[in-house]
Point group: C2
Chain length 437, copies 2
């Protein structure tokens, strides 16, 4: 049974319909405290604040360590029973009314890229705590055990969530992160134990559901003037390094029809990647972000060129088909230009499909609150995609102004964040009421 | 009177026809000593010989200084009255039978690019000395004063020939050359005097003619299986630095239709330069040799790109028309991609037209020796183009194997070099006999 079949199996008989839940919890007027949530966001942005107005808070750095202490306090104040798991994730638990049920989790991360923004990760992390706090304030216990997870180091390898789903520690332990520390030393610094990370691993299928609220990091919702994005899944990614072999020669003495210009061939491939990706219907994206020519002088025809190709889509089959078309075009360009292309696959991450049932719940709960919705894929990676092995996942997006992310200019309005947190709360309540796993 | 008119004026009444000279010197069976000439070439290649089998002999370096001493000895042994002019050019003179006539000169350079070849410059420099030696051995004096000029530092700025035609010393004196020395210190090292370079300047129109034999540095002659290239002129060159302004963004979350991809725009311009240059009849060339994207990561859409454009042709009008078409195309690409192009002109050198009359003499003298000929432009710069201000110029090309130059793989057969030197000799004799200036 693959992951998708597993989720379908798990959900098949359990959820009656998303629009008509068996329980009536979602009919309650329960609301998060938006002012409190946005106040926490403001307070959190002081940790690692940079002169650009954003934050530089790489995992394991001093600002991250201090921010984690602050967040741990918020979790305790929300009535969560907190622990730092051996990987260094902050985990807060509330027992369920029906202990035989698996836990429902929600959370995100609070680390940032260097010169990052204030909203990426933090919105979902603090909204998860705000949801716990709202339930605690209302003295409302879920049927399922409830977990808030603040994953360590999302931005530099999704270490916390990958470790949780059983990634081989050898693949990340000695990686030198943006903080300057290896993951191993970083785990020690944030209170984990690198020799015991296997104890943090969760069993496949051990969670009833996992939800993540996140800023969109694109401009799709903003452009469509929509409040809430219902994420269909997190795209798979493949990357290639491409080398173009031509022949370096004198730019003055070599006639146009006797050239083997590696840069010309590379340029044609850049255009071809764009054309091939765009001409197929769908929301796949393809990017050449890097291109270098050698020797790289104005008066020398390039003998070599190097470029990267990245393709992303919810379907790995689509990515592979696009790549086949790109390779075929490269052969034609090679013949036209007297050059040769060499493709080396350097990165591959599988797509993660969000649960359609949870998606339908997100959609109906948002609409019930008077919010508009749009289904879309997530072009960026998120912790939730790693959690997909442990149970069905759902992701809620709120708009990003101008689609800007990983920048001090990252911005989501307080009201949009509050709306997202309320959708998270009621999606959680609905799932808790309707799900018997 | 511009340069071209001046040459036309000078030549108009003087040369009857190239094919039917007034004097009969060219009917003599005078021939250079090919074995001697190729032996000198072999000996000269020892100065700065590198492990690749070529030479690294930048001007002013130890190998250049030693090679100049060797060549000066060859000049003296050829009966030339040698001096080092204040710029550092090696100048060898033989008085003419008719002292009222202006000098006819020939020569080239012996410095090389780093990791260069054995033939670039040296073939014409040593052939000039061999021609002098052949005349001296035959006790044959020309009507015109005869000069052999070995120009200093061709490869790193054509310093010797530019200085001779009156280039402002401020424009080259403090340039740091491939030897590590400034031109100023280099001139001192090779026996010139940087404070007296103005004394080396020759008056415009002061030479009756200047001839240069050189390897083609392209593959046109080889491909056409032709012995001798009659050079129509030395191309003009313009170079631009181009900056493309887009918007850096997340390669996963930014849909294809919302991108402002500076690298995509740059790539389309690379292809456009190639198309525009090729679709016009003629032998113009256009090259993008360098392209960089920023930030240059596989998962970030490039916000900026920088590239170079170089155009070469015998006509500056053609170059300017090509550039206009490229600029127009850039505007369209900018609109298509949401980017903006900024062109900065960074280099411009005017074309130099070879004398059609001398070209006809080269052609007829080559054919008279049973050699095949082809007219072609020189895509590379040469000392002769600087001499064009001092008098009409002619250039003779011999084939380069594979069109390879500025490389240890540079190669021209000894027989081809001998043939070129004999054409140089008889072109000189014909001009000397027919020209009364």
């Amino acid at each position: 049974m693959n992951r998708r079949e597993f989720h379908r199996h798990l959900f098949s008989a359990l959820v009656t319909t998303a629009a008509a839940p068996r329980a009536v919890l979602s009919a309650q007027p329960l609301r998060v405290n938006g002012a409190r949530l946005n106040g926490w966001l403001e307070a959190l942005s002081a940790f690692g604040k940079n002169e650009l107005g954003g934050v530089t808070r790489p995992a394991y750095g001093a600002a991250d360590v201090a921010a984690r202490s602050y967040v741990l306090e918020l979790m305790r104040a929300a009535g969560l029973d907190t622990t730092i798991d051996p990987v260094g994730n902050l985990v807060g638990r509330v027992p369920g009314q029906e202990p035989r049920l698996s836990a429902i989790g929600t959370g995100s991360h609070i680390d940032s890229v260097p010169e990052g923004g204030r909203y990426d990760g933090t919105v979902g992390a603090l909204a998860a705590i705000e949801v716990a706090r709202t339930l605690d304030d209302a003295e409302q216990r879920l049927r399922h055990p409830f977990e808030v997870i603040i994953f360590q180091n999302e931005e530099n390898g999704k270490v916390g969530s990958k470790a949780l789903r059983g990634e081989d520690p050898a693949r990340y332990m000695d990686f030198v992160t943006n903080s300057g520390l290896t993951v191993r030393d970083g785990i020690r610094r944030i209170g984990g134990d690198p020799d015991r990370v296997q104890e943090a691993v969760r069993q496949a299928g051990s969670m009833a559901a996992f939800l993540e609220l996140h800023i969109e990091q694109g401009a799709v919702l903003e452009a469509a003037r929509v409040d809430i994005g219902v994420v269909e899944g997190i795209v798979g990614i493949r990357r290639w390094n491409v080398e173009v072999h031509g022949f370096a020669n004198h730019a003055g003495t070599t006639p146009m029809d006797r050239r083997q210009d590696a840069l010309l061939a590379a340029a044609r491939l850049v255009d071809a990647v764009n054309q091939i990706v765009r001409q197929r219907p769908g929301r796949q994206v393809g990017t050449v972000g890097s291109l270098r020519a050698e020797p790289g002088a104005a008066n020398v025809i390039a003998g070599r060129a190097q470029l990267t190709i990245e393709l992303r889509d919810l379907s790995m089959q689509v990515i592979d088909a696009l790549f086949e078309a790109i390779e075929a075009r490269a052969r034609v360009i090679g013949q036209e230009t007297g050059t040769r292309f060499e493709f080396r696959s350097v990165y591959r991450t599988e797509p993660a499909t969000c649960s359609g049932v949870i998606g339908a719940v997100i959609d109906s709960q948002a609409r019930a609150q008077g919010l508009t919705t749009l289904s879309l894929p997530s072009g960026a990676g998120h912790d939730a995609q790693e959690m997909a092995l442990l149970g069905p996942i759902g992701m809620i997006f709120v708009p990003s102004r101008g689609g800007i992310s990983h920048s001090a200019h990252e911005y989501t309005e307080p009201a949009q964040i509050e709306a997202g947190a309320n959708v998270l709360l009621h999606t959680l309540l609905h799932i808790d009421a309707s799900l018997d796993a």
